[in-house]
């Protein structure tokens, strides 16, 4: 018999618009991976979700994306030495983003983040990101680069996976 896991840690549902959300004081023992599930949109315009770990504002992040927009071939691009990890496109329509922070609870490796993000009216994408730090994750911030806030009703749920 296995050990039950995939444990809800916290859920945030916005009762008013907000430019970012942060899960802080994330338990640093008991979970090996973290999963954040976002069902969100912004108040206007378009942009890209981003994730920052442990409040690290240094150029510690890299990411690579593969996406399709419903016509033509798929596209891929990559970034390195950035101050945030991109986590998927977002606009004023409902979208879903699931980010899995692998080995968030380990101190022996950088943190690889696997991301799937969909905005059914516009695109589908898969991403990988890396936080170049061996530090155990104790906070996770989600925002976007559009200049607009997350809309009322946007939800962000954090889960812990034991290993």
């Amino acid at each position: 018999m296995g050990t039950p896991t995939y444990t809800p840690i916290a859920t945030i549902t916005l009762g008013s618009t907000d430019s970012s959300i942060t899960f802080s004081s994330i338990p640093t023992s008991g979970y090996r991976d973290l999963i954040v599930v976002c069902n969100a949109k912004i108040t206007s315009g378009s942009g890209t979700y981003w994730i920052r770990l442990n409040g690290d504002t240094g150029t510690s992040y890299s990411d690579v994306v593969m996406y399709g927009i419903g016509s033509g071939s798929g596209t891929s691009n990559a970034r390195s030495s950035q101050t945030v990890a991109y986590a998927g496109a977002i606009d004023a329509s409902d979208s879903m983003m699931i980010a899995q922070v692998m080995d968030s609870g380990a101190s022996d490796k950088h943190k690889t983040i696997l991301i799937r993000e969909n905005q059914p009216d516009s695109w589908v994408e898969a991403r990988a990101a890396r936080w170049a730090s061996n530090t155990v994750v104790n906070s996770l911030t989600i925002s976007n680069d559009s200049g607009y806030s997350f809309a009322i009703g946007s939800t962000f749920s954090l889960f812990g996976i034991a290993a």
Binding site: M1, L14, S16, S62, T75, S76, D103, D108, R130, A132
Partner: protein, 188 residues
């Protein structure tokens, strides 16, 4: 951290017993050729699907290697595999049949920046159903030199229930700190 205007719910207790359960974890203390989860008929009794969660790195002297999986020690050409992947400059795909393994992604290797490991989450569906071949899907990636993100799928053309699965690097060993965790998912 409470946000002004936000509703926040904190749940600290585990979920009710077992629809998504940790079955086993292996964290390598030194390099080795492969990792095997065996006796799945006992270890995963009562579960319908399996999920592998991995962070892995290999010893190949290159920016990447194949991270492969075989089922029930079958080394024959009884697998097919496909992938859609992005390498930072273009998106491409491949598909091959009659292969000796299924693909879990590109493995970070010796010339990848230190401490960078490939991440992969792989679902193995209906692992113990003897009426169908076993299929897998994998989300995998690494944002380091030799960047990639991939969606892989595979089929083992055999209807036997799973008794073991073996993960390995095609052209080297798996290094220390590589982590492989197996989870069981129950049906309703």
């Amino acid at each position: 951290m409470l946000l002004l205007g936000a509703i926040q719910a904190q749940v600290s207790a585990p979920v009710a017993a077992g629809s998504f359960d940790l079955l086993a974890t292996e964290i390598l203390t030194s390099s080795q050729a492969s990792v095997t989860f065996s006796s799945l008929d006992t270890l995963a009794a009562g579960y319908q699907h399996l999920q592998l969660r991995m962070t892995a790195r290999g010893t190949r002297n290159a920016n990447g290697d194949n991270l492969g999986i075989r089922l029930n020690s079958d080394t024959g050409n009884n697998y097919s595999r496909h992938a859609l992947y992005g390498d930072g400059s273009s998106a491409a795909s491949y598909g091959v049949a009659s292969q000796a393994f299924m693909d879990l992604g590109t493995l970070a290797s010796s010339t990848t920046p230190a401490n960078a490991f490939t991440g992969a989450v792989t679902d193995i569906l209906d692992a113990f159903d003897s009426t169908k071949n076993t299929t897998i899907r994998s989300l995998n990636g690494l944002a380091a030199a030799g960047v990639f993100v991939g969606l892989a799928s595979g089929a083992w053309h055999n209807t036997n229930a799973l008794t073991s699965l073996t993960i390995y690097a095609l052209n080297g060993n798996l290094v220390q700190y590589s982590r492989f965790s197996l989870y069981g998912i129950k049906a309703a």
